[in-house]
Subunit: 112 residues, 2 copies
């Protein structure tokens, strides 16, 4: 089920556009995007992310801090481990839309 989208009229201020760009930029790094994908459907611990993606624990932690600050993911502690999961369903929607864009047939007009 697809969640509702919002009109773009919210993007009047420079600050709003800046906040939006920040989110896209966060998803624009391969490591971070893989981390997001790994935590998209179910909570996963930092160490499991690091192992699964073959990234250092430190790097994963650094990225998760940025993602959590932007509320792309949220954290939950379970004993010694900390689990991260995508914050809301919109994150998945954004990714799915972008994948759909990639699959779109090319209809360039002045591309030569």
């Amino acid at each position: 089920m697809k969640p509702e989208r919002r009109p773009l009229s919210t993007l009047g201020t420079e600050e709003a556009v800046s906040q939006l760009a920040d989110l896209f930029r966060l998803m624009g790094d391969t490591s971070r995007l893989r981390i997001i994908l790994a935590s998209l459907h179910e909570p996963i611990s930092v160490s499991d992310i690091a192992e699964k993606l073959e990234l250092s624990q430190s790097l994963v932690s650094h990225h998760l801090r940025l993602l959590r600050a932007a509320r792309v993911v949220r954290s939950e502690r379970r004993g010694k481990k900390v689990f991260y999961v995508a914050a809301d369903e919109h994150i998945q929607c954004v990714i799915e839309d972008m994948v759909a864009h990639i699959g779109e047939p090319d209809q360039a007009e002045g591309d030569d």
Copy 2:
């Protein structure tokens, strides 16, 4: 009307994830995002973009080259001017979803 999304099963390869990240990164710059927004609904010329956004013609052109290469926008020449417009409706969807994410209520669990 919302276009169809695609499943994320396409993201198996590293190359697919990399391509996806490239697109997000392109939208993660304030100037580029503003350019995308300016050309979202109707074709607009390079000079009009530059004037409207108060960016240099050169800068706009540089960014448009990247956006066109990634098929985020497509170009069409009309006389001396070149008009750019968002390549497909998925671009708008992605933005709308991200705006919706920003408007999402905060439900952090371990945020303190």
